[in-house]
Symmetry: D2
Subunit: 342 residues, 4 copies
C-alpha cells in the first residue's frame, strides 16, 4: 500500500480526495491535516466518511508528511509553495491542487495571485498535471501542479483544434459556467444559498486567474501566443463545469473524426456522437470530460461543448489520476465509478 | 377600463399576464380561454390568483374575443395566425406572444417553424414589439408581434454597438442561458426536475428558432446583414435569461457612456455602472433589462452581459408594455413592482 | 405621507421591507441605517432597488430616528431593546421584527435568548403583532413585537382548533420546514449553497427559540398551558415555510367550516377548499397564509397544512400590515401583489 | 458470474440498478428490457453509462429472462405480477422493486392499488425484502418484494421502539419528505422543474399507498395493530428521503443505547451520535440509512430522524443488497461507495 498525506483536508477538494481514495485499492491515507480542525474526527465534519476514515485531523507537521510516499496539497493558493521544498528534499512526491506551480512565468503568477512566489526555483521543475498533454512527464515528476477546473475543461476542449493549427488563434472565446462548489467551503455572504440560488450571473469578467493558465496551455499547444477571452459564470447547482468554446476555423476538416482520434486512447475523455449536448450531470462524481463538437449551420464558427465535474476531473479526481501515473499504477484505479444520474 | 382577452391562459406566459394585469389599474380581463380547462376556475390551476380572478376559463370564441379592446395570444406557435385576421376585421387590437408574426421573411419563418403561414398578408403589417426600437410604430399598431425571450435580451444588449456601426458584423456571438420556465408548462420528460435540476447543458446548437429572429433585429439595426452564432443553455432555475454577448470593436469609443445615453430615456433598460455583473434575480418578476459593458484587459473584444426575466420582459411584461403603448396609457402602468430578491 | 425609518437595512428582512414599502402609497422611507454599510447607496447592495431608493445607508442616530413617525427594527435579537425606550419617549411608534418583545415571561426570554433583557419595563406594554389575534390592541399600540416566521404559520394553523377547545392540548406537534432565507444574510459555512443545496435536514431538535413563542401563543388562545413538540427543518429553496401540524381532536365538528368562519374576515388568511395541499410558491412574495385542513381516513388525528412566505407574512409583510393598523391606514396597503408563480 | 436481467430499465430505479451493478464484481447484466426503447443503446438515454453498458434495450421476452439467475422488475405496479409465475416456474429468482408483492392482505392491496391481483397465490410466498428484519427469510427466498422508499426509512426508524414495546402504538406519526426522483421519470406537468422547483408541499394527505405498507411492517414488529398517521411531502431536490417520526414513550430507557445495539451488526444502518441531525446528502448515492434519536426537553415525545437515498436504500440499492443475500454473496458487494458530498 502506498502511504499518502493530505494537507488541508477540510475543504471541498480535500473531502473529495478522501471520497475517491476511500475506494482506491492501493492507497492508505495516513495523514489528514487541518489547523482549524486538528483533533476532530474527519467523519465529524463529513458524515459521508463515517466508517471509511476514522482518523482525526492533525496539525500539519513536516516530519509526519515526509514519511508519506506522496502528499496532496488541498490548501489555498500560497500554502504549498512554503512547504514543498522541504518535502521534495525527502523522498516524498507532491501534487498541489492549488495554483502555486501552474504558471511558468513568475511575473505573470505574481501579478494574478498578488504575492511573491516563495519557491521560484521549483516552478520550472513542476509538471503541469494534465495527463492528456503531459503523461510522460508526469510519470517522471516529483512535483505536479494539478490544473484548475476551468483550465481543464477548456484546454481539453480546444486542444485538438489548436494542436492541429486549424483555428484563428487571435479570437478564441471560452464562455464557462461552474457550480458553486468551485468557490470552496469558506464562509462568505456571496455564496450563501439565499444569494446564489435561483439566479445566474457572470463574475470576474475584467480578469480571472484561470485566464493566464488557459492561455499558457493553449500557447504551448499552438507553439505560439494565443489571444483568449474568458468569461466565468456561476450556476445555481453544486457540481459541474460547462465550457462553451468558440473558434473560427481556417481549414475544412472532419472535426468529429479528428477529436475522436485525438482522444481515442484517453480513458477519461469521451467525445460524444455528432449532434450531442453533454450535460454536467453525466459526469457528476466521476473523472471524465465529455465533449461535443458543433459547426452551427455549417459556418466557420466551431462550437465545442465540454463538461467536467469541477471537484473530480477539475480537482481531486485529476489529482488521483496524476498520483496513479506518478506511482506507476493503473491510471484508472479508484476512478471507475459511474456518474450519479439522476 | 379597457377590456382585454387572453387566448391560452394556462401556460406560464398566460398566468404571468394574469399576475401583471391583476395589478393594472386601467384594465379589466374579461375573457381567459383554454380549450383543455374550459369551465374550471382560473385560480383552481393557479392558486396565487385566488381572490384576484374568480372567472373560469372558457372555450375560445371569436365573438366573445371581438368584444374586447385588445386580445393577447399566449398560445403555441401557429395558433394566433388562424384567428388574427377575423379579430383585426373588428375593432380589436392584437398582441401575439408567440412567434407567428415576428419574422418578416415568410420563407425563413416557414423553414424554422415547419408549417405554412396561415395569414401571410398580415405579416408585413405586424409591428415587432420591442419598444426600445419601434415605440412609434407600436403606438399606431393594431397587430404587435411580441419578441421572443432570447431575442429581447440579446437584441437590447447588442443594439447600441450595432446601431453605431462600431463592431465587426461578421463575428457576433450570443451565448445565452435560460431558466426552465422558458420551455413552458407542457408535460415532458426533458423538463422534469429529476432531469434538469442540478445540471447544466447547451441545447439546440445546430439551430434554434430564436437565431433568425435575433439576426433580423440586428440586421435591421445595422442596415446590413449580420452573421451571428447563437448558443442556448438551460440553467437549473425557474426564471431568468442571461445573455453573454461577444463582439470585436472596430473603433475606440467610451462604450459605457454610449450605452447610458442610448437607453437614458428607456424606463425598462438599466445600464449598470462600469464593472458590474448583473444577476438574473435582480429582475425576477419585473420588466427590466439590466446590462453591463466590459472590455476585458482593454482588448478589442467587447463583452455585454444582459439579463431579463424571460416571463416578464421576455414575454408577458413586454406584452403589457406594448399594450400600454398601443392604448395610449402610461407605458409603465402595471409594471412598477420591485424585483423579488432574495 | 408617513415618515418611517428602518434600523438594520442590510439583512433579508430589511431589503424585504424596502421592497414592500417601495410600493406603499402612503409611506416615505426617510432613514435606512446600517453600521457596516453607512454611506453606501442602498441599491448598491440590492440592485433590485435601483430607481426605487436612491438614499444611502446611514449610521443609526437616535435623533434622526425620532423624527420618524414609525421605526422598524430589522436588527439581530438584542438590538431593539436598547434603543426602544428612548424612541418611545418621543412620538415615535416602533415595530421590532426581532424577538426582543415577543415573550412576556422574562425568565423564559432570557433563558432562550441567552442575555439579560435591557428594558424589561416595556415588555408588558408591547403588543404581539399577530393581527388575526390582536388587531384591536395593535391599533392602540406604540410598540409592536412582530411575530417570528415559524410562530406565524404555526399559530394561525392551530388557532381555530385551540380557541374552540377541540383538541387534546398535551400532544400538539408542529413539523415545520423553512427555506434558507430564514437564516438571514450573515456569512456562514452552514448556509453556503454547497452545504444546503440538494439536501434536507432537521435542526435544533433539542430546542429552538420559536418553541416558547408558539407555546405562549397557543396557551393564550387555549386559556391554559399547552404541550408542544416543535421540529424545524431546512428546505433547499430560498423562501417559504410549510407547517405540518398534528393534533388529536376530542369532538366531532365540521373543521372545514369552522376554519373558514374563523378566518372569513381576514384579508391575509386563505382557507383552501377541502382536500387541498398548499404549496409555498402560492404565497411567494405575498403576505398571505394559505392553509388546508385534513383528517386522514376520518381518524382522530387532524392534520393542518399552513404555508407562508417567511420574509413576508413571516417578517416584513406582517410588519407592514401592523404598521397599516397602527397608523389607521387600510390594512392591505402595499400588500396587494400576486404571488410570483412559477 | 451471476447472470441477471432487468425488466423496465428506463426509469430511475432501472438506471440506478445499472449504476450499482456496473461496479458489482460478481454480476453480469445480460438483459435490459424496455418496450418503448427496444433497440436503443442503454447509454444513449443514460450517457453516464457510456463505456459501462454497451448493450441495447430489448423487448421483454420470457425465454430470455428465464435464462437469467435473477431478474429485477423495475416496472410500474401491476407488471411483475403478470410475469413472475412463469419465471418462478423456471430456476429464476425474482426481486420486484414495485409494490406487487409487498402487502400480505390482498384486499388491502387491491383497495390501494386499484386493480385485482394477477397472482394472489404467490403473495404469501414473497418475502418482504427488508434485510434488517427478514435476513434469514430473504436468504431462502425465490421471490422478494423490495420495500418502498418511505416504508424503508420509516420502518427502520420506528423499529427498535416498536419491537421493544416502548411506545404508545395508537399515536405514531410519520412526517416524511422526499426528493422528486421518487415520482419516477414519466412525463407529467406536476413534476416539471417549473412546478416543483423552489417550492414545498405535502401531497396525498387523505391517503398514500405507502401507509398500509408501513402499518403492516410496524404491526408485525409490534405483534399487534398500530395506528399511524403518515404525511408525505415533496422537497425541491432530486434524491433523498427524510422521515421525521414522532411517538410517545411509555417507559424510560436509554434510547440511544437501544438503537445502537439493535443496529450494531447492520452494515447499512448508522445510528448517529446523540444530538445529531442527519442530512439526506450524507447518504446520497449510497445504501445507508442514517438516523438520530431525540427526546426534546426530556419530554415523553421521541423524535426519530431517519434519512436514506430513495433510489438506493429506498429502491435499487436495497434490491442489490437483497440479491447479494439471496445469492449467498457478501451483503455489501457493489454497495461500498462513499456518499457524494457536497
Amino acid at each position: 500500500m502506498v502511504k499518502v498525506g493530505i494537507v488541508g483536508g477540510t475543504g471541498y477538494t480535500g473531502v473529495e480526495l478522501l471520497r475517491l481514495l476511500a475506494g482506491h485499492p492501493e492507497v492508505d491515507v495516513a495523514v489528514i491535516t487541518s489547523r482549524a480542525e486538528a483533533g476532530r474526527p474527519v467523519s465529524d465534519i463529513y458524515p459521508n466518511l463515517r466508517g471509511h476514515f476514522d482518523i482525526p485531523f492533525t496539525e500539519p507537521e513536516l516530519d509526519q508528511l515526509k514519511s508519506c510516499d506522496l502528499v496532496f496539497f488541498a490548501t489555498p493558493n500560497g500554502t504549498a509553495m512554503k512547504m514543498v521544498p522541504e518535502l521534495l528534499d525527502g523522498n516524498c512526491k507532491v501534487i498541489d491542487l492549488a495554483a502555486d506551480f501552474r504558471i511558468k512565468d513568475l511575473a505573470v503568477w505574481e501579478q494574478w495571485y498578488g504575492m511573491p512566489h516563495a519557491c521560484p526555483e521549483r516552478v520550472a521543475e513542476a509538471v503541469y498535471g494534465l495527463p492528456e498533454v503531459n503523461r510522460q512527464a508526469i510519470r517522471q515528476a516529483r512535483l505536479v501542479a494539478n490544473p484548475g477546473c476551468y483550465p481543464t475543461a477548456t484546454t481539453l476542449g480546444f486542444l485538438p483544434l489548436v494542436e492541429a493549427g486549424l483555428v484563428n488563434l487571435t479570437g478564441l472565446i471560452a464562455d464557462c459556467k461552474s457550480g458553486v462548489s468551485g468557490a470552496g467551503r469558506g464562509a462568505s455572504v456571496g455564496m450563501l444559498m439565499g444569494e446564489v440560488g435561483e439566479s445566474f450571473k457572470a463574475y470576474g469578467v475584467p480578469g480571472h486567474r484561470h485566464m493566464p493558465e488557459i492561455k499558457q496551455n493553449l500557447s504551448v499547444a499552438a507553439g505560439q501566443d494565443v489571444a483568449l477571452t474568458f468569461v466565468a459564470h456561476l450556476v445555481p447547482m453544486i457540481r459541474g463545469i460547462h465550457s462553451t468554446l468558440y473558434a473560427t476555423i481556417t481549414s475544412d476538416v472532419d472535426l468529429q473524426a479528428m477529436y475522436e482520434q485525438r482522444y481515442a486512447n484517453e480513458p477519461f475523455v469521451d467525445v460524444l456522437p455528432a449532434g450531442s449536448h453533454p450535460e454536467t450531470r453525466s459526469v457528476r462524481g466521476i473523472n471524465h470530460c465529455r465533449m461535443a463538437i458543433h459547426r452551427p449551420q455549417g459556418g466557420d464558427t466551431v462550437v465545442i461543448l465540454s463538461v467536467i465535474d469541477n471537484l473530480v476531473k477539475g480537482a481531486a479526481g485529476q489529482a488521483v489520476q496524476n498520483m496513479n501515473i506518478m506511482l506507476g499504477l493503473d491510471e484508472t484505479l479508484g476512478l471507475q465509478a459511474v456518474a450519479l444520474l439522476p
